[in-house]
């Protein structure tokens, strides 16, 4: 059986859960722990925490959030953002992460993939690829939440990541991320055909049918989702939404919701099952 994993993605800035569009323009949504608890109880297959500003300042401020989560939530936890070295990886694993997600550091030093997967096991090392489609149709890999140009071809890079021993690839379509316009099916399908390891699709889910369409093309092994679930959580739990910190005006206006049809993880899974897609419920 090939079971599809549904992975809520929690972007973290300092103590807050945030969400952007095209990975930028971050807005505060609330406390990570509230969202993590809800997703765990709602049937999340894994959780991923990304420290979205860590790369800029070369630091990782997630440790407390990881430990607290790992003490109570017995599902796999992946952590990314600002991890540069073997000792950075060791540290987040020590505080409770099961896997690490690397991007900037491995584009600068691809050998880090080999070293880290030898040391911690391939299955511990997830490589994130942030893809932007250029005007000429080429996909290039970016780092630092789609800000930094690298000139690296996404497809060549994916193959190299596989060869160097990573356990999984997260492919993010930066163009689609936060927009709710659906996944970039061509991008994900092409990556999946090129590599021998599981592929996690990210960026663009706006409604349940987008996920069904993605899985039906038989390319992604897992789906990473944030807006769709976050906006549902907010609708269900208005009292828990941050009202003090950051840019929350948009939440009150709810104007950003119109491209999304928010749903819970359980809703999404039951739709998948109706479409004969195997998942854990």
């Amino acid at each position: 059986m090939k079971t599809i994993r549904i992975i809520p993605r929690l972007d973290i800035k300092g103590p807050n859960l945030v969400k952007g569009i095209h990975l930028e323009g971050l807005r505060v949504l609330g406390k990570p722990a509230d969202f993590a608890k809800y997703y765990y109880e709602n049937g999340a297959d894994e959780l991923i925490f990304m420290d979205v500003v860590a790369s800029l300042y070369e630091r990782n401020s997630l440790h407390d959030i990881i430990s607290e989560t790992a003490k109570q939530k017995f599902i796999p936890i992946t952590v990314g953002g600002g991890l540069r070295t073997i000792s950075d990886i060791k540290e987040v694993l020590r505080v409770g992460a099961d896997k690490v997600c690397l991007n900037t550091a491995v584009i600068k030093d691809p050998e880090l993939i080999r070293k880290a997967s030898r040391k911690f096991g391939s299955s511990t090392i997830v490589v994130a690829i942030e893809a932007i489609k250029e005007e000429n149709g080429k996909y290039l890999a970016y780092t630092d939440n789609g800000r930094e140009y690298t000139g690296v071809d996404v497809f060549e890079w994916a193959q190299k990541v596989d060869e160097l021993g990573a356990g999984e690839i997260v492919i993010t379509s930066v163009d689609r991320e936060g927009t709710g316009q659906g996944f970039d099916l061509d991008l994900i399908s092409k990556i999946s055909k090129l590599v021998s390891i599981p592929v996690i699709a990210h960026g663009g889910a706006g409604k349940k049918q987008d996920v069904v369409d993605l899985i039906k093309q038989d390319s992604a092994n897992a789906v990473m989702i944030s807006s769709l679930f976050h906006y549902h959580f907010i609708k269900e739990n208005e009292s828990k939404v941050s009202s003090k910190e950051g840019n929350v005006e948009f939440l009150k206006q709810k104007r950003n919701f119109h491209t999304f049809e928010p749903c819970s993880i359980a809703d999404l899974k039951s739709t998948l099952v109706d479409n004969k897609i195997e998942c854990r419920i």
Binding site: P76, G121, P198
Partner: protein, 218 residues
Amino acid sequence: MLEKRKKVVIIDYQLGNLFSVKQACDTVGMDAKLSSSKEDILNADALVLPGVGAFMEAMNNLQILDLIEAIKNKVNNGTPIFGICLGLQLLFSKSEEFGSGSGLDLIPGIIKKFPDHIKDRKIKVPHITWNQVYKFNNYWQETALKELKDFEFMYFIHSYYVKPDNDSCILTNTNYDGIEFCSSVIKDNIFATQFHPEKSADKGISIYKNWALTNNLI
């Protein structure tokens, strides 16, 4: 007089994340500690052999820490042991990659890698997902799996699997994309799972609890 609490040692051979294994043991009330010390292992009432990472690196670390004979002696003398993921594979006798005598040799059988394709169809390796475990032997109800229903979902993350020489130790099987493999074993005082119970939500934690109960550890 208070009964002395049973001591559980989680064998730390310095690979991978043991945080959640310890957390799961604590959650069900075991008196468990992480240790790399031979003395602790020899004094333990029960052992947990966890594991993430590479087989040979794990065996090398056990060798350097001088724990191999200690573990084997304890298990051969009846101490309960719970192997998880790579910890299950280490219990076996030989590996397709590294030859015979490469494991702890407590259960006869071989460790194999998942094929990367079957005919023209590509198989994604590692096998990373929640997958179903189903009964192979009928004494399920007497084991740590007793709260699981047949075809319960558990979390897997591995590239290798075991093929025991003798079917009688197979407790459950699992099917990954057409490949059926052994997902848990039981043999006398040895119990081991290819999946990660500590990553398999409440049902997974029930396995820790029931293992502890069947061995009078809590």
